[in-house]
Amino acid sequence: MAPLLNIRSIAKRFGARHVLHDISLDVNPGEFLTVLGESGSGKTTLLRVIAGFEQPDAGEIWMAGERLDTLPPYRRRVNTVFQHYALFPHLSVFENVAYGLRVQGVAKSEVGSRVEKALGMVKMDSYVASAPSTLSGGQQQRVALARALVNRPRLLLLDEPLSALDANLRRQMQGELKTLQREVGIAFLFVTHDQDEAMALSDRIALLRAGALEQVASPREIYSRPATAYTAQFIGQANLLRAEIANGVARWGALAWPCDAAVGPADFSLRPEHIRFTAAPPADDSHTVCFCASIVRQIFCGATDLLEITCQSGHRLRARVPSRGVLEGEYRFEFSAADAVRLREGGER
């Protein structure tokens, strides 16, 4: 399937500061793609470059066979849901949603039905005559969504649209957003700094770090096979094991597991939930790594406990285990060698 949006080697500087380096990314039709990154990683700038509010210093953007980056924002068939909604304060909810249709000269008879349908989709059809200032944050967010979707864009850009909402409303809106995206079948390019939100919503996640793409993959892939230490630690929690490889075996302290990579140092990521208690004595199975460790700290998280444990060699690990009361002293733990994911080198920037 040909990609809908094709970002080719985009670079952007603000003065001497490089905000985006050589970004290449495709968005597929109907896809929910999340650009995830810390604040200052350049994710909003990337969105603004696609929308046309910023000009890239290098690179091209193509959409469905048409060059996009040379067009002014009002000629691009993309719409944006802004972080602070940006509803027009002098227009009613109806007129806000009708705005795009009116300026594009859509027939009056069609405007009414399309606006009502769009507002119905976000369950705001009973507020047509309201002024935006009388609506709550969540309601304004819905109107902003309807205002963008009513134009039937090929691509919808969403700039941290849920960040101004409180936690409960936010979770509810996440669910609705995902359902809505499935219904309308429009590709969403969603920007957020919240990895849980990214995991919950996305078909694919593009992780942005200091203006460059760190990894682009599905949530499951990026979680289970993080490419770098940064990815492993940014998405979920991870133990970073700086192991030494020799003779097909990776060694980290007293722990060892088979690894056929080249001789030398290598970083591994091990998720805390992959470390589990074991009662059995060490089996003669090189694919399961067994070790004894004492519990330093126990953090109760509801269904699970997060344990900080120290191996006999003094190396520290974090393990997530099902909750079962207060734990003290030394226990036997194990993990599968396959769960220790080798990371790409040169993760530091």
């Binding site: 046309g52 602070h84 940006a86 002098h90 300026v103």
Partner: protein, 281 residues
Amino acid sequence: MYSRAYKAAVALPPLFWVALFLLLPYSLLFAHSFWSVASGAIVRQWSLHNYAELAHNWMYAQVLFRSMKIAGAVTLLALLLGYPLAYYLSFCAGPQKQLLYQLVIVPLWVSYLVRGYAWKTILGSDGVLNGFLQYLGIVSTPVEFFLYSPFAVVLTLTHIYTPFTFLPLFASLEHIPRHLVEASQDLGASPRVTFWRVIFPLSLPGLLAGATFAFVLTLGDFLAPLLVGGPSGIMISNVVVSLFGAAYDWPLGAAISVCMLLLVVGILFAIERLEKRWSFH
């Protein structure tokens, strides 16, 4: 929170100020408008004959009408000059914004009289403008109607009051969130459509405030007509000035002042109603 004595002590000076410099003069003015003058002395007898005089003598209505025409023209011109200037500074000036802003403000520090006399020098029959036109050969004899005409009054007052329209316009344009402009373009509106559908409606409170300044200040002006207006450029305030001065008919002058005051208060009241309807923040 605060004791009653403290509140009274704090409130007293402003109350005193208001009573002495606002209520008392207004009351005196109001009282005078019902009195009359007989053989060079003010007669403190209540009657409506000053107002009757104003209603019957068309001269006053004519001058008032002319004053309003001049005020309207000045308002229109000051807005036509002030709006593009404010728009340019707010949206296009970039790093030069502060400098340009100061340059617009600087003329306000120059005395009104100096600016009035400057126009006299420019517009006079042996003035700068006529000299220039004659030098170019466009006219052979000096053009007389530049100076001592309603035209000269409008020109001078437009120059003086344009910064007054600029300031509220600039403030209201500066207050328009820029992401609204982006949202409009994002929804497919060209810069021109964005201006008329988003920027202009949101700048209306500033436009109204600027228009009010220009109109009300012009309506009460008497220096510009005195300096550059000539007989055909006389405005209502000049009539008041002469009634309080050479003509020595304070009661009639007071009656005109009361009418002017009511007119201006009416305008301000209407404008405030409109402004409430047009402001969204």
